[in-house]
Symmetry: C2
Subunit: 215 residues, 2 copies
């Protein structure tokens, strides 16, 4: 019976998952002020009391759901970065990472989440701070570690500051399309073909600076 | 008397300026939903009727004030870019532009404005679109023209896509500190010394790809 309980999530776990999914949906759709715990409870098919018992108030629920979505995004980005550590060709591997990060970070879910966190950064600096430190910066640090590993195998020049190199790579790849998506909306995103061109051009610049010296 | 009228702004112009300044303050402080035309009129020391007569409704006033602030920011950024066209040393000139753009774009006013536009991009796609096209993208296009001009004088390699090169330059410079400021708040910005390092490192990467070939 103990085994069965582990195999099937228990009632509390199921309720938690339902509340998280409902909160993600309601907060990204209505913003913090427009969201109500009533609507979240109804969508999760639990009582409002259950939401309060599990998460305290709306503010704590907000922080929790943003953090969970942040960690999910980092996990997804980091899994692609491992491609670099199995690579033998820096250009091929970096292009794959650039294209994957573009796809991942320009998805409708991530864009809505980013907008929400930025919109509420003044009201909830701790939420924005956690998104930056445990999400954004964390993903870049992981990328930097893989770049460092590539440098160790002679695929890149030795890096004095892997985190900076990773930020530069990400900036080359993401700056234009991410800002276009943030301001002008998802419909105005560059085409898939143009995104590929952006990714390849970014890798070209990055390798001009960090590729192995051929001398 | 005609001359005097041109020298001193007339009553309508003064009122317009007062309304714009008040609206910028109230919208960036309270957000779109939290702002009222009552508060804006009071701060501008005009009647609510005057606000409506000059700008229509709150929504039109919002679009107008964002556009005015956007154009002001572009003008400020573009004025620095002219440094490039008088330059004889690409590294020196690009470092100056990078440091100036960091200062300009990380100012508290611009950050508050960016947050506001991003927060309201779903509700007012036209406002976000105008910010992107007439602000963000416009400044980058102007930078690209100056890079092209430098290439024409042999200070950079010939550029096949000056706008792309300008986005890459801006991404190398701005990506880390801008995101840090957007998410984690102004207090968490890198120090002035660190910003300078970011600027110089960005120029180094940019010139590795676009600097004149020394061969």
């Amino acid at each position: 019976m103990g085994v069965e309980q582990r195999a099937v999530p228990d009632r509390a776990t199921r309720q938690r998952q339902a509340i998280m999914a409902a909160a993600a949906d309601v907060f990204t759709r209505n913003g913090y002020v427009g969201a109500t715990t009533d609507e979240i409870a109804a969508l999760a098919a639990v009582s409002k009391q259950t939401v309060y018992k599990m998460y305290g108030d709306k503010q704590k629920l907000f922080a929790e759901v943003i953090l969970e979505m942040t960690l999910g995004t980092v996990e997804r980005l980091a899994s692609t970065v491992t491609l670099l550590e199995r690579s033998t060709d820096a250009q091929v591997a970096l292009r794959a990472v650039a294209e994957d990060w573009l796809r991942g970070l320009l998805s409708a879910d991530v864009l809505r989440l980013r907008r929400l966190v930025i919109a509420e950064a003044d009201r909830f600096p701790a939420v924005g701070g956690a998104w930056f430190e445990r999400g954004f910066d964390r993903a870049v640090v992981i990328l930097g570690e893989s770049l460092q590993e590539m440098a160790g195998r002679g695929l890149l020049r030795p890096l004095t500051d892997p985190r900076r190199a990773a930020y530069q790579f990400t900036g080359l790849v993401m700056y234009q399309p991410m800002n276009q998506a943030m301001f002008a909306g998802t419909e105005s995103l560059p085409s898939a073909r143009e995104l590929k061109r952006i990714a390849h051009a970014a890798v070209e610049v990055f390798l001009a600076a960090y590729g192995p010296t051929t001398a």
